[in-house]
């Protein structure tokens, strides 16, 4: 099981604590601090679907993240919040995840989805600030389903000890 932790929050400590917690269970968890990286907003060009399949047209530091996600089983996003949801920096790294999917369509669990370019990916969120727990749980559930995986759940940084490893 390979886990990637993407930190987009100003304070990296919660991401480090999460990494230690996963590593303590003997799992492979790599922490990537995106706060020092050049990562731009997805601009919806659809090149990753239809022009250069699986390759993002934006030439920035996200490429190294994508290369790792392609061979990972789980993704934890450690993010600040705004308006009760992920803040724009947290959402930005998730909007860039489209190259993980193919253009091709299918129905999975009764809903229309894109087929998976690589394996399945589970998604979890650790958030700081005033997150809307219900909304973030809902979002984790839906986003992981898009990636063929299951939700690892949304946890406030104060409840990081409750994160279940080996899911």
């Amino acid at each position: 099981m390979k886990t990637i932790i993407l930190n987009t929050a100003d304070n990296i400590r919660p991401a480090e604590a999460l990494q230690a917690q996963i590593a303590a269970k003997g799992e492979d968890a790599e922490l990537i601090d995106t706060t020092t990286m050049d990562i731009r907003h997805c601009m919806g060009c659809n090149h990753c679907f239809l022009k250069t399949p699986g390759v993002c047209a934006i030439k920035d530091d996200y490429k190294q993240i994508l290369k790792k996600l392609a061979h990972s089983d789980s993704l934890w996003l450690v993010s600040g919040t705004r308006f009760g949801f992920l803040d724009y920096k947290g959402k930005r790294v998730m909007d860039r995840i489209l190259p993980m999917l193919n253009m091709d369509l299918c129905f999975r669990d009764g809903e229309m989805r894109h087929t998976l370019r690589y394996g399945t990916l589970n998604v979890g969120v650790v958030y700081s600030g005033e997150g809307n727990q219900q909304l973030l749980d809902f979002w984790c559930y839906r986003s992981s389903a898009n990636l063929g995986g299951h939700s690892l759940g949304a946890y406030s940084v104060n409840k990081i000890k409750e994160v279940k490893v080996c899911m």
Binding site: H41, K51, G54
Partner: protein, 216 residues
């Protein structure tokens, strides 16, 4: 009524499905005597004017594509960096449109948008939801007009009511989920027509790799 419409799509205006939807919606609005001004967030040079319009008008619509189950990060940045706090009351409504067609696909985005106006000092004017819009960009004119016409009807309705809180607006989303027979039919027609359409577009765009390539 004068309406400020903000296009929250990160996609360049020329290619933006949201833009085509707004154009159709605006035609409906104007046919009932309302006026509107449109701002496009994919163009950063419009942000300042868009912020100013957002803070000073009382009828605002944010039109946005669903991006990974919620609002695009670009729109979140625009809202998070609003330079001042609102003093004047306003009604904030939304047009949320997506690629996938079932209503259930839009509910997470809707939940977020419902909670947003109060946090921006506005009252919630409802959410107009509809999927199946991915193809607007690559559709031929006839097909495109067919997709866009219902938005003009909703523009007329908005000009009369000033919000998307009507039963008509709630019905706009269509089927919440697709029954098994419909899913089978969709997959069949996708395999015959849809898949070929994507492959044709890829060829036109100069794609030389298989669409399910694994570069990494």
């Amino acid at each position: 009524m004068h309406v400020v419409i903000i296009n929250g799509s990160p996609r360049a205006k020329k290619f933006s499905n949201t833009d085509k939807i707004i154009q159709s919606f605006a035609k409906g609005l104007q046919s009932e005597g309302s006026t509107c001004e449109v701002y496009t967030l994919s163009n950063r040079s419009e942000w300042e004017a868009a912020w100013a319009a957002f803070m000073t008008h009382d009828k605002i619509i944010i039109a946005l594509p669903l991006y990974v189950e919620c609002a695009p990060s670009l729109l979140l940045e625009f809202l998070a960096t609003l330079p001042t706090e609102r003093r004047k009351p306003a009604t904030l409504s939304f047009i949320l449109q997506s690629g996938f067609a079932e209503g259930c696909q839009l509910r997470c985005g809707e939940a977020f948008l419902k909670s947003l106006p109060a946090q921006l000092g506005c009252t919630f004017g409802g959410c107009l939801l509809r999927g199946n819009n991915f193809g607007i960009r690559i559709a031929k004119e006839g097909e495109r007009n067919k997709i866009l016409k219902p938005y003009a009807d909703m523009g007329r309705s908005f000009a009369q009511k000033g919000n998307f809180l009507s039963p008509e607006a709630a019905r706009f989303v269509g089927l919440e989920t697709f029954p098994l027979v419909l899913r089978k039919f969709i997959m069949l027609s996708y395999k015959v027509v849809g898949h070929r359409k994507f492959s044709r577009t890829a060829t036109e765009w100069g794609c030389i790799r298989p669409l399910d390539d694994r570069p990494y």
